[in-house]
Amino acid sequence: MSGLQLTAGAAGARILGFGSYRPRRRVTNDELAQTMDTNDEWIQARVGIAERRWAEPDETLLEMSAAAGGKALAASGLDASEVDLVLLASASLPRPIPGLAPEVAHRLGAQRPGAFDLNAGCAGWCYALSAAADAIRSGSARNALVIGGERLTDYTDLTDRTTAVIFADGAGAAVLGPSDSPGVGPVVWGSDGDQSSAIAIPEGEKAMSMAGQAVYRWATTRLTATLLTAMERAGVGPEDIDVFAPHQANLRIVELMAKRLRLPERTVIARDIVRSGNTSSASVPLALSALLESGEAKSGDIALLLGYGAGLTFAGQVVVLP
């Protein structure tokens, strides 16, 4: 035999709609300053966070992910039964077995879709977006739901001022479908596993620790090339970028990246970290949802995305907003 038969895929994939879920409880810097040695000025100057959301017990990863997924489905105009692939990017799953994506998919009413969790740290949602777009292109799926959901507070020592002021909870999602005109560009992804301990739960411990200077150095020196390559592979330049939405790890990293890319004045830069904190794999879809809701970003805008974090992992791509 000369080889196996393959399914026909779509010319490209595009994002049809976004949705998000922000936990009810707002936690301000002043509130944190009551229980630990920190203050609003210090936090704003170092990481740019004014407030963040912390999930309450009933706002489980399942509930938040399903809520964001449901809103993305509503925005896309698709019914859950039309989704045949559900990916949940998360670095804060409540348990190793079973995975959560099948339960989220069931909750939403999807009919026996392919479903799996994906952990690529804070780069998870951008990894999952690429995997879903490739599945649609190859014919493995027709419509996909890509969720980034985190309850990082479950894995944060909420009395540790080096991490408690940064990490937060939430979920964001997008629905993807086939398109003759591609709306998800080629991914530029990779990993630097020699720095696996830079963001980690150390052995025998229950909470994350982060080598802040090392991560800051890596993010501000190694990822500009990733972004430039992502634009080049998608056939666009900095002057074409309407929206820049990198992972919301630290406002200073966001600003430095934007400066190094020489993005035009008109480019809308996602600064959702100011009110959401660092929500790992939820941060990019949360930021994009907020920009679309506020009208700062519009349908048809070209957005440059970048996820990066624990692993260390990174993934950048250019997308067209729905």
């Binding site: 200077q213 090392a214 430095l256």
Partner: protein, 79 residues
């Protein structure tokens, strides 16, 4: 040579942390006198690496407390 280093370092300090060049004198402590925080130190280190062709790993960076420390480090490790 060391004047070139001091001038180059002062330019970096002005660009990264808004330090007036006249304030970038050897005895000044980055954190105590010049209000440079730990993340700006990383930016200064990477800018120094680019400008002078020296490598400043994080563990070496931790020992650089003053402008003079940085100048000696650059002088010693310059290619």
């Amino acid at each position: 040579m060391s004047e070139d280093i001091q001038t180059g370092l002062a330019e970096i300090l002005e660009e990264v942390a808004g330090v007036a060049p006249a304030d970038a004198t050897p005895e000044k402590s980055f954190t105590e006198d010049l209000d440079v925080d730990s993340l700006s130190m990383v930016e200064i280190a990477t800018a120094v690496e680019d400008k002078f062709g020296v490598a400043i790993p994080d563990d070496e960076l931790a020992n650089i407390k003053t402008v003079g420390d940085a100048m000696s480090y650059i002088q010693k490790n310059k290619a």
